[in-house]
Amino acid sequence: MSQNQPILRLAGLLKKFNGFTALDSVDLSVSEGEFLAIVGPSGSGKTTLIRLLVGMDEQTDGTIWLRDERLDTVPANERPTCMVFQSLALFPHRTVGQNIEFPLKIRKVDAARRKERALELLNLLRLPEHYYDRRINECSGGERQRIALARALAFDPEILFFDEPLSALDYRLRKTLEKELKDLHQRTGKTFIYITHSLEEAMVMSDRIAIMRKGQFEQIGPGEEIYARPQSRFVAEFMGEVNLFPARPGEGAHAFEGLAVDDKAAAQQGLIAAEGAYLMVRPEKVRVLEEGERADFTTAGTVHAGYLLGSRRQYEIERGDQKPLIIEIVQDGSPPLADGARVRLGFDAGDTHLVERD
């Protein structure tokens, strides 16, 4: 999907508010037709970034390039980009049709052509044509999402930005719209840049995920890669439930807190217990060991709490004063682990990943 020429390029983009650095000299390059999700907790700078990109705010330093042209010097209303707002920002005093046609009206497209395009977009977004004359307040949450999207597509932007538009919807509707959005991205071939604090949303839809932390990109890459090989503890924890074992460099080349280790297997995988590093294993990779069964890394503890997660069951395993271990076992009909039972746990070096920093 990605082509060579980047459609959008940020170089050293910096934004300060009264001495507070909201965006700390970020660089980024987005390919034509890509679906990029920018994910981060609140306050990580993602909203600041998108506001700079659409021109609602001005950067303190740095540049934004759209292909070969400077974008940051262009006023917001002249930028060939469009954003779907968190609140959707549909005009309550206009009908659905008038909302969708709005960007065309501003461009002085004649009324007949405008209506034709609005009806096309209603079709594209699977809304019935008679919605054209509806009032916004007569539409449901999901319909409003589609109308906002149709309006943004009517603008025909080079890049379409999304500022967490699905965050206010209930779970099922959100899931449906996530899939529709991904489908729409494929059908229109446009470049989508989607901001969200929900990793799940980012994973479902995007080609690449950029994780933000304290005004910087912590890691950028395809979802699978970020999930399997996070570069920092922050990303590892942000990408879902995870077990992290701090390195104990003083105790051996492959020593991690609370784990018995098979040194040969650990060495083969290059799992060096460097200062500040963590050994990471996802809950679904940890097994409950039978009597005498071996694993590259082993530990033991007491079953503390169990939660049913649909197809899997999650347990917290208490291990003295160390952080409880989280494990997930696929429901296969075997009886659940009893509360308070002593268990031996293990996982293999190949299922782990070395996280190098905090």
Binding site: V54, G55, M56, A76, N77, E78, R79, T81, C82, M83, F85, Q86, S87, A89, F91, P92, H93, T95, G97, Q98, F102, P103, I106, R107, D133, R151, F155
Partner: protein
């Protein structure tokens, strides 16, 4: 929530009591204006409408109406324009001392109007301006602009600033944003602010008393005639003034309705 029979009765009673308290006194002026006798006494023995004819043909009354009308119209225009931009400044932009300024702007409402009138009169004298209906316009503005600002600000606060940003994002210039988004959304606030401004100026007595100088507005004249030289012309002119206000109110209520109709035919 389902209201019980007792509560319903109590609510009706309450409503009726309020209406009676508000409108019964007005009714007595109405009766006085159509009574043939010089002073009002119940029951009214003979009705006559001659004072209405008198009032409508009187040059004095016409002058008063013109003065009051021009004053109120100017006050409405200026206070709504100033209030509009003031409200936007409060609701849309954050600047230093904004909160403080917001409170100071509203302060004149809380002054007793007589004190405000006196203060303004002394001020006009101090800077050498001869009071006339024009100074009254200024006096009314001091008191009414905070009110229009408040009314429009309430409306401005209640709509999502992202609407304006979205308009800009989709290519609107500042002026287009104002025309396409801000103004239509603030319209109800602007209409009610204008209505308030007009009626408050039209009926204002204390500020006018101090600041009109040799000119006279309707309420001032009514008061003067009450004090000396009463005739049934007083309640008659009073009633005409009420009718004028009511007419304005009806027009104001009709405006949004008419706009809506015009808009729906435009889009069809």
């Amino acid at each position: 929530m389902k209201t019980g029979r007792f509560l319903t009765a109590a609510l009706y009673l309450y409503g009726i009591a309020i209406l009676v308290a508000l409108y019964l006194p007005l009714l007595s002026v109405g009766f006085a204006s159509i009574s043939k006798s010089r002073y009002l006494s119940f029951p009214v023995r003979r009705y006559a409408f001659e004072w209405y004819g008198e009032a409508l043909s009187s040059g004095t009354v016409a002058d008063l109406v013109v003065t009051s009308l021009i004053t109120a119209a100017l006050v409405t225009l200026v206070s709504v324009v100033v209030g509009f931009f003031g409200a936007l400044a409060f609701a849309r932009y954050s600047w230093r001392y904004r909160k403080l300024f917001q409170k100071f702007v509203l302060l004149p409402i809380f002054f007793p109007q007589t004190v405000l009138g006196l203060a303004l009169l002394m001020w006009f004298n101090a800077i050498g301006i001869v009071p006339s209906w024009k100074t009254a316009v200024v006096a009314h503005l001091v008191w009414i602009t905070p009110i229009t600002t408040l009314i429009i600000a309430i409306r401005a606060y209640s709509f999502d600033p992202a609407l304006e940003e979205a308009a800009r994002d989709m290519g609107c210039t500042t002026l287009q944003t104002l025309k396409e988004v801000t103004l239509p959304l603030l319209a109800p606030g602007i209409v009610s602010a204008g209505l308030f401004a007009f009626l408050l100026s039209w009926g204002n007595f204390p500020l006018s008393l101090f600041t009109t100088g040799a000119d006279s507005t309707l309420p001032e004249w009514l008061y003067a005639k009450m004090v000396s030289g009463y005739s049934p012309l007083v309640p008659t002119v009073g009633m005409l003034s009420v009718f004028a206000s009511a007419l304005l109110l009806l027009i104001a209520i009709a405006i949004p309705f008419l706009i809506n109709r015009a808009r729906s035919t435009e889009s069809a």
